[in-house]
Subunit: 350 residues, 2 copies
């Protein structure tokens, strides 16, 4: 079980994976032999392939078929063979251009990032809207709606917008609501859910204020959960073209996965903990439901502050090089954008 592969074996594994990723068909020895980078005969390649199979890097679907990479093979590939791919300059420029064209709006950015990513890699893309781990109140406002109905508007330090409708005990007009909000904003500014719950209110404060405080604390607390991330999905239709989803049940599995937030969000914490682009291949997933797909994903944003996750999800047969370079480029780009907005602020706070 030694991990020492000969130079030739490594070359063969690399070419085999590249070939398989491109064509989705088992790769035969003479196809590889036709490759100008390999100057040996099909027979030699067959011997090497037999070794690779014994070592678990490739598989044979059936006797008279070529070989197919195993999850272990892909792992070896991304670790030792593919090098550090970089997105071509021309594509970088196209992407930059598209971001310049769009409005200055975080949601738009996320949407664009997801959509670009899915098209770059020809797989589904997922992006979470950025938010900080300990959301702090930036501003809130109370808006009169109908009699005894008000809208409580909450702006979080990380840019998140939330609203909540309130039924009031008594009738308040807009002027009084605004006054109350303006005053309270001074006290509540920059507090987290926990701090808010403990904040001291002036003794003469109206009962509405403590009610508002409770609701605000509740909203902030809900935003602390990782499940609060808004998920942008894109490029489902890219997946359907993949031959691995020809059988409808595999596709259904995938759809279920993408429709429910839970499984996707389960990988978010792991990603946020580490730096750089992460790759999870097939059976390396915890969830059975993801056993036959791969995920290439990275955190973006400010390390211990407002950040999110961007990634690609698709079958294990994935252009890992391209996926990694695309995810890396886009996550860096988003980080830059967020830094422009929140960077100075957070540095000032520190």
């Amino acid at each position: 079980m030694g991990d020492e592969l000969s130079e030739r074996q490594r070359a063969i594994l690399r070419l085999l994976i590249e070939q398989y990723v491109a064509t989705a068909r088992p790769v035969a020895s003479d196809v590889l032999a036709a490759n100008p980078h390999l100057t040996v005969s099909p027979a030699t390649i067959r011997n090497a392939m037999a070794d690779l199979e014994r070592a678990g890097y490739i598989l044979q679907p059936h006797t008279s078929a070529g070989r197919v990479p195993s999850d272990k093979g892909y792992r070896y590939f991304v670790e030792h063979l593919m090098g550090t791919a970089i997105l071509p300059q021309s594509e970088q420029r196209t992407i930059d251009h598209q971001f310049h064209q769009v409005e200055l709006d975080v949601e738009e950015w996320m949407h664009l990032a997801a959509s670009l990513l899915s098209r770059l890699v020809h797989n589904a893309a997922v992006v979470t809207t950025p938010h900080s781990t300990i959301p702090r109140l930036k501003h809130f406002q109370l808006l009169d709606l109908a009699e005894r109905r008000a809208m409580l508007l909450l702006v979080v330090q990380d840019g998140t917008l939330t609203q909540q409708l309130l039924t009031l005990e008594e009738d308040w007009d807009q002027e009084h609501l605004s006054a109350l909000a303006t005053e309270a904003n001074k006290h509540f500014h920059h507090l987290s859910a926990g701090e808010l719950a403990e904040a001291v209110l002036p003794p003469d404060a109206p009962p509405l204020l403590s009610r508002v405080r409770a609701v605000l604390a509740g909203l902030l607390a809900r935003l602390e959960e990782p499940a609060a991330s808004r998920l942008h999905r894109e490029g489902l239709s890219q997946l359907i073209d993949q031959p691995e989803f020809r059988e409808t049940d595999r596709l259904k599995q995938m759809l279920d996965l993408l429709e429910g937030d839970s499984i996707l969000l389960s990988i978010v914490p792991a990603v946020q903990a580490r730096e750089g682009v992460q790759i999870i291949i097939g059976d390396e997933h915890r969830s059975d439901q993801m056993r036959n797909c791969s995920v290439v994903v990275a955190r973006y944003g400010l390390p211990n502050d407002v950040n999110g996750v961007i990634g690609v999800i698709g079958p294990t047969r994935m252009p890992y090089g391209r996926a990694v370079s695309s995810v890396r480029y886009l996550s860096d780009l988003l980080t830059g954008l967020l830094d422009q907005i929140y960077g100075a602020n957070s540095r000032a706070d520190a």
Copy 2:
């Protein structure tokens, strides 16, 4: 081509459609004959079916197959045969219950409505977030972010929340921003995009104010377009179980349809114009892309004010009765919820 179908033909057409909707297989004459509601022999039914086919209500996939409803057949069914279905009390209660459990939050309601609808009808569901045709400014706020970066926050009369990042010419601190916003809110309150663009500013107003006015007008104008509706999709995975989507290309077509907003939103104006639940079957659609699906859809909300659209989309083989009753119940429910919030307000304005 007379539309007069005999009583028996109507009965046969009705049973055939019900049967086909349930099983998705061509319906044979003796299957219908086995139905206790029909006391005639298979041969008689065959004669009637031949008539129905000549008249275009049903089709025969091939010689030795049973019959399948045509789009015209479905149209006749929904118009004359299915009656006015009502959602069972028990299900109504379950739905009410779920809405009571959820927070007072419009987005949550829409999400819940879409999710419930898709499960009720076992098809994909689509709900647009409610908004008014002429959005009017309710409130805005300017929030300091980093140096020379501010967030412009816009609350529309219909509850829509929008934000836009601004790069400022000079540094403003939060206090001055708030003061400017508070003052300007008085002037801008309840204005539409058009009115806002023409609003007179005090002569001593800082240049930032006219900048803000322009941005606000732009945001409001963008919200006037029907494409501004936020679309909640749900239940894609319900579709994949439908036998009509066994062939991947049909499914792909459907996915493309649901992923792009454009085609879906194209039906929104038509729906908003009319009252009640509307049904569009197969080739009645304008867009080729929708030729083999049906849509059951209704407007909800306040007629000429804040409203949206809720509907089901799926193959033409759809349980129309159930779809109509579900859409009707949910649209009425949403209307009621919105009326509680905006109803009094809008009546006061009128």
